[in-house]
C-alpha cells in the first residue's frame, strides 16, 4: 500500500528512463542524500566518520568498480586491490612530483594509470573466461605489489616503504578533520556512482551485459568483443584506482603496499557477492554490510559475554567473524546469488500489495 506506483503515469520516454521512475524512490533518495551530506557530518563523531563511514564509502566505490567488471561485464577479477594500489601510489607520485596539478586532477590521473594497468591485465580476457581469467588477474595482484616494493621510484625511495600521504588541499582549502574528509569522499563517490548508473543504463552498459549474458550473440549483433571487454577493465580499474587514492588520502593517511593485499581483493569480491552482483546499489549494501558487520559482532560478543558472564577473547571474536563471514557467503551463493539488492527488490514487490495478500 505504501509503496505502489498506481496513479503515476509517464507521458514521455524520458520520464520512463529516469534513474528513479517511481516517486517513492526519488523521495527516499533525496532524503538519504540530505542525511548523508548534512545530518551525518553534524552529528557524527570522529570515530564514526573516520573509522566507519569514510572507509565504507571508499570500499563501496571499489566494489562498484569491481561490480562494473564482474557484475555487469561478467569478467571475474581478483586484482581489485592491485588496481587500488596503483591508484594510491600514482596519486602520491603525481601530488609529489607535480604539486601544481592539484589533488583532484592527480586522483583522476591516478585513476587513468590504474585503468591502463587494468587494460594490460584485461588482455587475457580476450582468450579466457571465468575462473581461468580470475587466475590471470591474480597475476596483477602479485605483480603490482612486487613492482611497488621493488622499484624505489614509486615510494620516493623511502626506507620503510610506508609513506605519509600529503595533505588534501583543494584550491587552497585544506581537508583536515574527519568530517571534511568524509564530505570530500562522499562527494566523489556520489558523483562517480551517478556516472556509473548513467553508463550502465546506456549503450555501454548494455554492451557489457550482452557480453556477460551471451558473447556469441553479442558479437553477431555487432558488439565489438575486444573493445567492450577492455573498456570494462579500464572503467572498472579507473573506479578502483580512485578508490585506492581515497583509501590512502582520506582514510589511512599513509601509502603502503601492504594495505592492498590479496585479502582486500577478496573482501571487495565478497562485498559484491553479498550486496548484489550487477547492481550499483548492491555495491553500497555489500560494502556497508562488510564494514559494519565486524563492529556489530564486537558489540554482540560484548553483550553475550556480559549476559553469560564468560570472557570472550579478542582472538575468538575475530575468528568468529571469519567463520560467520564464510558461512554467509556460502549462504548467499546458494540462496540468493543476487544478494541484498535482489532481496530489496523482492521486498519492494511485496510492499506494493502489503498488507493485502493480493
Amino acid at each position: 500500500m505504501l509503496y505502489r506506483e498506481a496513479g503515476q503515469f509517464k507521458s514521455s520516454y524520458a520520464e520512463d528512463q529516469g534513474i528513479f521512475p517511481l516517486r517513492q524512490d526519488r523521495i527516499a533518495f533525496w532524503v538519504l542524500m540530505a542525511v548523508a551530506f548534512v545530518v551525518v557530518p553534524l552529528i557524527g563523531d570522529q570515530y564514526w566518520l573516520s573509522a566507519i563511514l569514510t572507509p565504507f564509502l571508499i570500499f563501496a566505490l571499489a566494489a562498484l568498480g569491481l561490480n562494473i567488471l564482474t557484475g555487469y561485464a561478467g569478467q571475474l577479477s581478483l586484482g581489485t586491490a592491485a588496481f587500488m594500489a596503483v591508484g594510491a601510489f600514482m596519486a602520491y607520485n603525481f601530488v609529489l612530483r607535480m604539486p601544481w596539478l592539484g589533488i583532484i586532477p592527480s586522483f583522476i590521473l591516478a585513476g587513468l594509470c590504474a585503468a591502463a594497468v587494468g587494460i594490460v591485465f584485461g588482455l587475457p580476457s580476450l582468450r579466457i573466461k571465468g575462473f581461468y581469467l580470475a587466475v590471470a588477474t591474480l597475476a596483477a595482484q602479485f605483480f603490482v605489489l612486487w613492482a611497488l616494493q621493488r622499484f624505489g621510484w614509486f615510494t620516493n625511495y623511502s626506507s620503510s616503504g610506508v609513506i605519509t600521504a600529503q595533505e588534501i588541499v583543494i584550491l587552497g582549502y585544506a581537508f583536515k578533520t574527519p568530517a571534511q574528509k568524509y564530505l570530500l569522499t562522499l562527494a566523489i563517490v556520489a558523483l562517480m556512482a551517478l556516472a556509473a548508473k548513467n553508463l550502465m543504463r546506456s549503450e555501454t552498459g548494455r554492451a557489457f551485459m550482452a557480453v556477460r549474458d551471451m558473447d556469441v550473440a553479442a558479437s553477431v549483433i555487432g558488439i565489438p568483443m575486444m573493445k567492450t571487454k577492455l573498456l570494462a577493465f579500464a572503467i572498472s580499474s579507473f573506479y578502483c584506482g580512485v578508490a585506492g587514492a581515497l583509501h590512502a588520502y582520506a582514510y589511512l593517511g599513509t601509502v603502503e603496499p601492504e594495505a592492498y593485499s590479496l585479502d582486500l581483493s577478496f573482501r571487495i569480491l565478497f562485498m559484491i557477492i553479498i550486496g548484489g552482483v550487477g547492481s550499483i546499489m548492491g555495491s553500497f549494501l555489500g560494502a556497508g554490510f562488510i564494514t559494519l558487520f565486524p563492529i556489530f559482532l564486537n558489540l554482540a560478543s560484548g553483550w553475550v559475554s556480559h549476559a553469560l558472564g564468560v570472557e570472550i577473547s579478542h582472538a575468538t571474536v575475530s575468528n568468529l567473524e571469519l567463520i560467520i563471514f564464510g558461512g554467509l557467503i556460502i549462504f548467499f551463493l546458494i540462496v540468493e546469488p543476487h544478494g541484498f539488492a535482489r532481496l530489496w527488490q523482492i521486498a519492494k514487490e511485496k510492499l506494493r500489495l502489503w498488507p493485502f495478500p493480493h
Binding site: Y13, A14, Q17, A195, A196, N198, L199, S202, E203, T204, R206, A207, M209, A210, R212, D213, M214, V216, A217, A218, S219, V220, I221, G222, I223, P224, L231, I235, G278
Partner: protein
C-alpha cells in the same frame, strides 16, 4: 502478397561454398541466390548443413572455399561484426537472448551499431547521449508495438515463456533494421497458435519493412505456405532449388526425406 514487390534484384548470393570441420564436410559447393524482398527457405533433413549455411552467411563460420556476395560486395568470408555492419541480422535455433536484461534492453542492444555517442558522454548523460537514447527508444517502441510485446517490455527475458522469447529475439534482430534477416528455425518447439503468430509476424516483417528473409524451418506446411523459393540441402549438397511446388515434386527431395528403397 503483391507480385510486384517480390520482383527484386539479387541481393545476396552464395557461390560454390564449401565448409568442412576436419573430415566432416558440412557444405559442398553450395550455390544459390536470394532476391530482394523475398522469403527464401532452406530446408533439408537433420544434419544437412542448413545451420552451417546460415552461420557462413553471417560470419560465424568461415568457409574454406567459395564466395558470398552481398549487393555488390564480395567476400571470401567475413567476420560476424562485419556481417552485422552490412545489414545481416539473425536469430538462433536455441534462443540466444541476453537473459539478465529486460526485453527493452535486449531490443536496444540490437541497435548498438547505430549509436554514436562515446562512453564519456553516456556517463555524464549529456544532451547528445540522452537524445540518442530517446531517439532509439522511440524506434524500439515501434518494434515492440509491431510484435505486440508491450506488456513485457520491462520483464527480464529469462522469465518469459519460450514462444515470447522467440518473438523477442526476432525483435532484437529487427531493431538493427537489417537488409537481410536470417531466421534459424523460428518455429521450433512452438504450438500451433504460437506458430501461426510467428508466421504472421514473419510475413508482416517482409511486407511492412520489405526485409529480405532467409529462413530454416522443419515444418513443411509453414515452409510451403510462406516462402517464395526453397533451397533443399542434403548431406551438405544442394539437391533442389525452386518454388515450393517445384521442390515438392522433385524426386530427389522426396528421396532425401522419405529414403530410397534399395
Amino acid at each position: 502478397m503483391s507480385a510486384a514487390r517480390r520482383a527484386g534484384d539479387v541481393i545476396l548470393s552464395v557461390q560454390d561454398v564449401s565448409l568442412a570441420f576436419g573430415g566432416v564436410r558440412a557444405l559442398q559447393e553450395v550455390s544459390f541466390d536470394v532476391c530482394e524482398h523475398e522469403i527464401r527457405a532452406i530446408i533439408g533433413p537433420n544434419g544437412a548443413g542448413k545451420s552451417s549455411m546460415l552461420n557462413v552467411l553471417n560470419g560465424v563460420y568461415h568457409p574454406q572455399q567459395g564466395k558470398i556476395r552481398l549487393r555488390n560486395k564480395e567476400f571470401a568470408d567475413m567476420d560476424s561484426h562485419q556481417a552485422a555492419d552490412l545489414g545481416i541480422a539473425r536469430t538462433f535455433q536455441n534462443i540466444a537472448l541476453f537473459k539478465g536484461m529486460s526485453v527493452l534492453d535486449n531490443l536496444m542492444t540490437g541497435r548498438n551499431l547505430k549509436m554514436r555517442c562515446n562512453f564519456l558522454q553516456q556517463a555524464l548523460w549529456l544532451g547528445p547521449a540522452k537524445r540518442e537514447e530517446l531517439e532509439h527508444r522511440r524506434a524500439v517502441e515501434e518494434i515492440i508495438d509491431f510484435l505486440e510485446i508491450q506488456h513485457i517490455r520491462k520483464t527480464p527475458v529469462g522469465r518469459l515463456p519460450y514462444g515470447l522469447q522467440k518473438r523477442v529475439e526476432l525483435g532484437r534482430a529487427l531493431a538493427a533494421e537489417p537488409a537481410v534477416l536470417l531466421l534459424d528455425e523460428p518455429m521450433a518447439g512452438m504450438n500451433l497458435e504460437e506458430k501461426r503468430d510467428m508466421c504472421r509476424f514473419i510475413l508482416d516483417v517482409n511486407d511492412h519493412y520489405g526485409t529480405t528473409i532467409v529462413l530454416i524451418e522443419h515444418d513443411m506446411g509453414v515452409v510451403m505456405d510462406i516462402s517464395d523459393r526453397v533451397v533443399v540441402l542434403d548431406y551438405g549438397r544442394k539437391i533442389a532449388d525452386g518454388s515450393p511446388d517445384e521442390v515438392r515434386g522433385n524426386q530427389s527431395v522426396v528421396d532425401a526425406y522419405l529414403g530410397v528403397a534399395h
